[in-house]
Assembly symmetry: C2
Homo-oligomer: 375 residues x 2
């Protein structure tokens, strides 16, 4: 099965229900993609991911290129086989990590030269090599090399960078030889509406299987990020999936979906889990809080995740305080279940034509939690 996207329904708000098919299965959108940076979603087995409701995960090209190396993964049968995940995988291009983790980077028309954050080794990533690496990894959806400019940056720099990102996108499209992999375009343009429009149009002209909004969640204030999402999403074709990269909180997801975003990825549920912050309908629960020392209730009443089905807040608090690995495992299972369920609830709401009502309930629940001493 090759890549396809079907728009099933559009809510009056702009929220979309869709279906993505890939060589490794089909799933409905809007969807959240857990992040498996180094070919593993931290503290989760593939079975645990399925149990949490994950259908597509993300892996990081930059990290896997440096270690263990894409050639090794290719030799071992590709990323799906290597990490024992038979669902859909999306790999980013590595651009974001080069700009956030790479040292002494130098960028020119050819590509980007940087030093590995692991051992300082000099590395080169070009649009062509980013595709080559991602073809070796064998993900179902791959991304072109782009520059993710810092925030703030001058308008002049954003324009220059964006134009180069477009030229790179074209080279990426030209370099791709594996028809089984879908290639998305990445819209840049900083926080400027006219540049975002120009970027979207340039990419649409080239034609991609889906379109991503890049360059967000890079330090800008939340209202600004949301504003950019609001004016950028409608610039994208109705007939292709729209992916908001690296975002975000549950509230960000609700906002994104309302504005027609179909795909999200973020380390927040997994990272917060390891730090002991758990997501619930009534807001965040900080498990180390002494309130939970003797609390026999699950993290969230009615939650059907593995942790809530089997363990009390008191036990989860104990594991966290003791620094047990099982703490990360159970907290991650809960948070990913929360994120995936949130998407499922949104899909159901869109399907029933009641996204606005869902949104009202979502915020009522969170506010109810904030008013109480104890979630």
């Amino acid at each position: 099965m090759s890549f396809s996207f079907t728009l099933i329904k559009k809510d009056i708000t702009g929220a979309r229900l869709g279906m993505v098919s890939t060589p490794h299965g089909a799933f409905q959108t809007p969807v959240f993609m857990p992040v498996g940076t180094r070919a593993a979603v931290k503290a989760m087995t593939p079975e645990g991911l399925r149990d949490a409701g994950a259908e597509i995960i993300l892996a990081n090209t930059y990290h896997l290129y440096l270690r263990p190396g894409h050639e090794i993964i290719k030799e071992l049968g590709g990323l799906h086989c290597f990490m024992n995940w038979d669902g859909t995988i999306l790999t980013d291009s590595g651009g974001f990590q080069v700009f956030s983790l790479g040292k002494l980077r130098k960028i020119d028309e050819t590509g980007v030269v940087f030093n590995s954050h692991l051992d300082g080794a000099r590395c080169v990533l070009t649009p062509e090599s980013a595709i080559e690496v991602q073809q070796a990894l064998g993900a179902d959806i791959i991304m072109p090399l782009d520059e993710c400019p810092p925030y703030p940056a001058s308008r002049a720099y954003i324009e220059e960078s964006m134009a180069r990102t477009h030229r790179w996108a074209k080279r990426c499209k030209g370099a791709k030889t594996n028809a089984a992999q879908a290639l998305f375009g990445i819209v840049q343009g900083g926080m400027h509406a006219d540049l975002r429009k120009a970027s979207a149009n340039a990419l649409i002209d080239m034609g991609f299987d889906g379109y991503a909004l890049g360059g967000l969640s890079v330090g800008e204030e939340k209202p600004l990020m949301r504003e950019v999402v609001s004016f950028s999403a409608p610039l994208l074709p109705e007939s292709a999936p729209r992916y908001l990269m690296g975002v975000g909180t549950p509230e960000d997801l609700v906002h994104g979906v309302e504005n027609g975003i179909d795909m999200f990825d973020c380390v927040m549920p997994t990272r917060n889990a390891r730090n002991g912050t758990l997501f619930t309908r009534r807001g965040k629960l900080v498990i180390k809080n002494g309130l939970y020392e003797r609390d026999s209730r699950p993290v969230e009443e009615g939650c059907l995740c593995y942790a809530c089905r089997n363990y009390s807040r008191a036990y989860l608090r104990h594991l966290f305080m003791a620094g047990e690995i099982l703490s990360s495992m159970l907290n991650t299972a809960h948070n990913l279940y929360y994120y995936c369920s949130l998407m499922k609830r949104m899909r159901a709401a869109i399907s029933e034509g009641g996204f606005n009502e869902f949104k009202k309930g979502f915020y009522t629940d969170i506010e109810a939690g904030n008013m109480r001493e104890e979630p």
Copy 2:
């Protein structure tokens, strides 16, 4: 169901096949008990433990007494409920940890005063309170407070300590009020055959549900430890289970079983797993070794553990090098499976009357591994 032990068969070597029944299930012996120090076997869920073949696990009274506290665990329904393990649990008395982890400890006839290794708080453990704590935890098998003398220690001190340990054992037996819990006696006496005999006899006179060999694996050389096991195990009643505390390597288990030991616990499989050392029939495999960088084979060909069923050495090496939590999870699953399977193989050998043959094959396999570059 209350506690019982049935000796099913005795091999010509001295190895015993038995059956232990407890309020949380029955299992055959010889058996290995994974260590769940702080009410969690590190990096394992209860389902993972079952999948690895575990039927009984151990938890540490000292650690749980200090954090979260036995009263809290009792309030939450006891240890089985707290940690979601419905199989058998054995708790040690805390004595070993007081002597190995506690600071500024002071021992007298009453009990032991020590400072918590967590926050320095002054704590008292007496034979009576050790039983009280273990009754609150609610394990199926509990242990009396004993002193685990250091090695080396003078014969005079060993004698004095042993006599006190016997008086404590009697007080523990007197303090126990919960008939559903089995209480084992702990034989001390250092490395002295006559003292071990005196200790065994003193405890047998008092009458316990099972008998443990304590004070071993405390720094003495391996041949000495094995010698003590060899002359001590036969001092114990045929009709009760024999538990060798805190031991050991796969070779130690084979030696112990041959000498009539029925139960073992050790942190080795779980701790080594986290350090990247994996047990196989052909010896240990150090997963970070560059040899495994592109090795598509499982850790051990034919092994049916979760890790070997699903992952290559190359992937496990990658996870270890990247410091992924999944590395600890998969390595622990493998090592516990190895330990539990080793016990299963020994039980089968005893059942078929071929323990000697098993032992020959066990050492042949290990030597074959040592001769090869690559296990």
